[in-house]
Symmetry: C2
């Protein structure tokens, strides 16, 4: 068959690659087993609005994190760097009811910027503090629609001018059940219509490889 001959592969959650993030939260009583700071991994997450900045995370009702977010209306989306990938996977396969996943993964809970109850993961390069605006029950998952209230980043990600250089965070993407480091840089927004000298300037480093 020719390269673009098409085959019907059946209905599934096939949109890829997607983000993979560590969602941290806590209950109103963080000293109890129920309310202690917890982490779960989510790939059904994404940006949904620019002004104001909003994101969504879809979570099954059965997950402990669902209960914590429902109690407080708050959570933190922590981005995942290469060094966090194994902990990220672990937090996706283990439940938080009986296990302190911060402790299991040797991660450090820190109070989340701009929120009352939730904790962020200190070892994450970027932590996004979110407040739930509404919840959509979709079937297997409930989609938490949230507004971003604060963002903190590791200081080493800022250059001398204070610009955030996220390309230095070694972020992980999720693709069809597998975790991948971002690889070759192919372009930047607008590169298809940009003048040649701008392209050289912004792609130069990569082209030398």
């Amino acid at each position: 068959m020719a390269k673009h001959d098409k085959i019907d592969v059946g209905v599934s959650t096939i949109l890829n690659p997607v983000p993979v993030v560590m969602v941290s939260s806590a209950g109103k009583e963080p000293e109890t087993e129920f309310g202690r700071p917890n982490i779960m991994t989510a790939a059904w997450a994404g940006t949904i609005n620019s002004e104001p900045p909003m994101l969504s995370v879809s979570i099954r009702k059965s997950r402990h994190t669902h209960k914590l977010i429902t109690e407080t209306g708050e959570f933190v989306v922590n981005l995942v760097s290469k060094s966090l990938c194994k902990a990220c996977d672990y937090c996706g396969v283990r439940g938080g009811e009986k296990e302190d996943k911060f402790k299991s993964c040797s991660l450090t809970p820190v109070k989340a910027e701009g929120l009352e109850y939730a904790y962020a993961i200190k070892e994450a390069p970027v932590s996004i503090s979110c407040v739930v605006k509404s919840v959509q029950e979709l079937g297997s998952h409930d989609m938490f629609i949230a507004e971003i209230k604060a963002v903190t980043a590791d200081s080493y990600l800022l250059d001398d001018n204070g610009k955030l250089c996220l390309e230095n965070a070694r972020l992980v993407a999720y693709n069809h059940g597998e975790y991948y480091l971002l690889g070759e840089k192919l372009g930047f927004f607008g590169y298809s219509v940009a003048p040649e000298d701008i392209i050289r300037k912004r792609m130069g480093k990569d082209k030398k490889k």
Copy 2:
């Protein structure tokens, strides 16, 4: 400062990496200028539910694609391979009212599997046919919440057993305004708790690199 010293970097759409997809659609009268098959690029997209498989795409009201989807309630999410990256960028910076972007990018519209009006992009490795279930007005963007009705893939992506090998599609991720090819494979879902022989089997190819 130590590596995990935190800096408040201000509120923005900082969740990364995110998908970057080409959304194709058409009006009820595809032979007119208004209704002809069109493509726009979206990064505010993601899987939101597993059963039934659902995804969302957020689009500004001003975009031509918003009008087409509103007319028909249908669209197609086309995944972006390395060879489509430049066309993907082009379709993100140009409007569809006055320009036939299929023609500008030398792409081929084909009737979308399982839909009445929308067209898919023949050159995309995977095309996901979607029907809108509801719309959420969030501010700058409207979020189209949609159910996946059919998925078609290039035949070369299926192995001899009919298994979809999406890792061969050379998919592109979007990270903080830049397009990246997926790079090093770091693991698979469950690898943090998997037996060593399973890890060797599934990671073997990459470890030899």
